[in-house]
């Protein structure tokens, strides 16, 4: 019997699929189940078809799979949307009338569940999504009181009548679910897990935003762009409680120039954006380079070029982030894999940016920011943030030439000195110069920091046997998918190496790669950008590449299959 169930809900934008995802994931967590959720959606506010996958399990689940155990299509056409993922084992819970023509009911395991009928009886078919929530929770035998209380809390800001109707909807659905459980038409063996009680359920965007707060972020200026906006929204909501200035700028150019100004005056600032928005920020990035200004850039990738697929996922802006900005200056690129990485890396980004006075990127993507699972509460025991601001003396020079290239960073109004920064090439005091000898000294000073960064780089994580023959290489958001796929392979000669710092390439990289007889790289892009970067810095060519660029993240099964084929 299944120890882990994949439930997929499918419906139009505006049909409340997001509400279902929100309620179900939280109620599962509340009831003590391991849960994972991710969504794929169209770039429109109404219509189209969106889907959410929720995995419920006795043990941890963190990755996107193709398999659908239970499909709940809420409108006409929804079945077709996920057709390729439907197998003879997939149970379709739907209302006959809604989806009658959509598929051959005799060929699929179909159970007629009157979501809309019940909702209409309660007063409006808009409650059908909440009926569905009730049905799933009833099927799992979660206590009705737990479910109702959570639903009540969720709708608490709504009118009393609306709350009551939603509660009625949940109860009706719940009874339908109980009936399904009794009928033994759907069998699974999933237990709650006492270990998850203290864990948190957050998505990637929340992890990044919480990490930012922990890193002392008190200024965010950005311009809305999917899939990066979640971080701005989160911090705007917390702005009052945490003393954060959260400003929606007139454009991305303003956003990054504000953030750099904020650092100059003593804030810890970040921007959140996606490819197109970041493209507009590149002159500002270069400004940070010459000013030696810290800046944290959350770049949530989506498929390009240009507007591309606004709500889909891709890992194709690695080279953009790496080479953006005219001139030569150091930078760091971090790419969280686990949700926890989102927290720790973002927190660390602020310290790195401030210590080395350089731009630090957090490279995520739509899949990462929109996926949830329960994970350990971040460790807040060592929360001191590294501040490197000095009180200036009267003869302070912002760009004092030092052995390691780092000049003590003063800010205006703190000390007796004056702080001058300049986008022109400048002298030690920060004033415009065309002394070409000094120019060379300043370039060298800035680039020297790259050497220091190499010593501080975050090593890649090796998962699997140390005595691997085959090494799968990946970076960023694919971590959990690769992990589950490699586990499914069940080969003890195969390990995987995940990079959460992609630039500067960690020093250990060559050693890991040289040990392998065969290397396969997995990337959510068309040109294997990370393989190119590895080649450039280690000379090692990775020619076995599994690439995906249809706008979706890998599924565990397809990746396992592709790996299997290559390793046969």
């Amino acid at each position: 019997m299944r120890k882990d169930l994949s439930i997929v809900l499918c419906g139009q934008a505006g049909q409340g699929i997001q509400t279902v995802e929100y309620l179900l994931t939280r109620i599962f967590k509340l009831a003590g189940y391991n849960v994972f959720a991710t969504k794929e959606y169209m770039s429109r506010v109404r219509g189209g078809i969106n889907s959410t996958e929720i995995r419920v399990s006795s043990g941890p689940v963190c990755a996107y799979i193709n398999r659908i155990d239970i499909l709940i299509p809420l409108n006409k056409g929804a079945v077709g949307h996920v057709e390729k993922r439907i197998s003879p084992q997939t149970i379709i819970l739907a209302e006959k009338e809604t989806i009658a023509e959509d598929f051959d009911q005799t060929r699929h395991k179909f159970i007629d569940v009157p979501f809309t009928k019940k909702a209409t009886e309660i007063g409006n078919k808009i409650y059908s999504n909440v009926v569905a929530v009730g049905t799933v929770t009833g099927l799992f035998g979660i206590e009705l009181q737990t479910v109702s209380e959570y639903v009540k809390k969720f709708f608490s800001s709504k009118a009393d009548d609306v709350v009551q109707k939603n509660l009625a909807a949940v109860k009706e659905g719940f009874n339908l679910g109980l009936g399904l459980a009794d009928s033994s038409k759907i069998k699974f063996d999933i237990n709650d897990d006492a270990d998850i009680k203290d864990q948190i359920l957050v998505n990637g965007a929340e992890a990044v935003a919480l990490g930012a707060i922990a890193g002392g972020c008190n200024f965010i200026s950005s311009y809305p762009m999917s899939p990066s906006t979640g971080v701005l929204i989160f911090l705007a909501k917390q702005a009052k409680d945490f003393g954060i200035i959260a400003e929606q700028a007139e454009d991305e150019i303003a956003a990054i120039n504000m953030a750099i100004g904020a650092w100059y005056a003593g804030a810890r600032a970040m921007v959140t954006t996606s490819g197109g928005g970041f493209a507009l920020m590149t002159e500002g990035l270069s400004l940070a380079g010459i000013l030696e200004s810290p800046i944290v850039i959350h770049l949530a990738q989506r498929p390009g070029p240009a507007t591309g697929l606004p709500t889909r996922t891709e890992q194709a802006d690695l080279e953009l982030a790496l080479y953006a900005g005219h001139g030569e200056f150091p930078r760091i690129l971090l790419a969280p894999g686990k949700i926890q990485d989102g927290f720790y890396l973002t927190r660390k980004a602020f310290d790195l940016a401030e210590k080395y006075q350089i731009p630090v990127f957090i490279l995520t993507d739509q899949y990462f920011v929109d996926s949830y699972y329960n994970t350990a509460c971040p460790d807040l025991s060592d929360v001191s943030i590294e501040k490197h601001i000095v009180q200036t003396d009267a003869d302070y020079k912002r760009y004092k030439l030092t052995d390691d290239g780092i000049s003590p960073r003063g800010i205006p109004g703190y000390g007796k000195g004056l702080v001058a920064v300049d986008s022109d090439e400048h002298d030690e005091a920060g004033h415009i110069t065309e002394d070409l000898g000094l120019r060379v000294e300043m370039v060298d000073k800035r680039l020297k920091k790259l050497e220091l960064l190499k010593d501080e780089s975050i090593p890649p994580e090796l998962v699997g046997s140390e005595d691997y023959k085959n090494l799968i290489v990946c970076w960023g958001s694919t971590y959990n998918i690769v992990r589950e796929a490699v586990k499914n392979l069940g080969r003890d000669d195969t390990a995987f190496l995940h990079f959460k710092q992609v630039y500067p390439l960690p020093g250990q990289t060559s050693d890991y790669l040289k040990k392998a007889r065969r290397i396969i790289i997995v990337e959510n892009n068309a040109t294997s950008q990370f393989a190119k970067l590895i080649k450039l810095h280690t000379g090692i060519e990775i020619s076995d590449r599994i690439l995906k660029y249809d706008g979706l993240s890998f599924y565990v099964e397809e990746l396992a299959e592709k790996l299997n084929d290559l390793l046969k």
Binding site: L210, F219, I245, D251
Partner: protein, 289 residues
């Protein structure tokens, strides 16, 4: 305070002899001295251009950023540490052309900063192309047949956006310009001072004499609280009115609106993240009830 305090020793000034930028620099130093603003408490923010070099020529904290991008960092600097006096100063091309979008939205944001624009109706640093304020018919190596675009009217735009302080001055009149700058700095909220500035090298049309001949001062009968009248005045040209066109003293500033200084006046650099609160926030994600 003695203006000497703002003097920079040994700077190689990159302006042409006779340029209108020189008197503006002198006037600015006098205004700052009369307002007893300490150099350490002053941040001069600029973009790129001849005018934008001004922060390097007086004693102050300097943020000399990108072409067109002085206003966003100026806004952020003020918001990060409201105790600082922040002046964003650049040329007409910088503020109204490359930075036009920031000009509009900074007015809407209303930070308590002063925005001084050296308006020479030309791109000086890049050697004489048209600027947004160039007058029609002005011939340049690019606008070979003469400018035919409608000149940008910064004052009318600012008043239309209900900017909280809008003025125009002329670099040729030290006394009045100084008074206007002082009022602008003292004004609470965004203050625009557009200063007519002859470019002796690249603008042979709008010369010192031309500005002298084509300007006049608004007199006492002008009521700066009357927005409609101010707008009408702003649309006048040849002669162009000088003086304070419009003041809206009632607008809340950006720093007030962001709310983080209501209970705590400390600038951001003196603050630490509240880890206790963060713990409680993170706990809400455990969803145990």
């Amino acid at each position: 305070m003695d203006t000497e305090i703002f003097n920079m020793a040994g700077m190689d000034i990159a302006w042409c002899p006779g340029c209108g930028n020189f008197p503006i620099l002198k006037i600015l130093k006098q205004a700052l001295a009369e307002l007893t603003i300490e150099p350490t408490n002053l941040v001069m923010v600029s973009g790129i251009g001849q005018a934008a070099k001004i922060p390097h020529y007086l004693k102050a904290n300097v943020f000399n950023g990108l072409h067109g991008r002085a206003l966003p960092p100026a806004t952020a600097i003020k918001a990060t540490n409201p105790a600082l006096t922040v002046i964003a100063e650049s040329g007409d091309g910088d503020m109204y052309g490359e930075g036009g979008n920031h000009f509009i939205h900074t007015i809407r944001r209303n930070p308590n900063i002063t925005n001084i624009v050296h308006n020479n109706m030309v791109y000086g640093l890049t050697k004489g192309q048209a600027s947004p304020t160039s007058q029609t018919g002005f011939k340049t190596p690019v606008q070979v047949g003469g400018v035919f675009l409608e000149p940008f009217n910064p004052l009318a735009v600012a008043i239309a956006l209900d900017a909280s302080f809008v003025a125009r001055a002329f670099s040729g009149d030290a006394e009045q310009t100084k008074e206007i700058i002082k009022k602008a700095i003292e004004h609470k909220g965004y203050a625009l001072v557009d200063i007519f500035q002859p470019c002796v090298t690249f603008n042979k049309l709008n010369t010192f004499e031309w500005f002298k001949k084509n300007t006049y001062y608004l007199d006492d009968s002008h009521d700066p609280s009357n927005r409609n009248e101010a707008f009408t005045k702003a649309t006048e040209n040849e002669p162009f009115p000088l003086g304070i066109f419009y003041i809206n003293p009632d607008k809340r500033t950006f720093e007030e609106n962001i709310g983080i200084y209501k209970e705590n006046q400390k600038p951001l650099y003196e603050r630490e993240p509240d880890i206790g609160k963060l713990k409680s926030l993170i706990e809400t994600f455990t969803i145990t009830e």
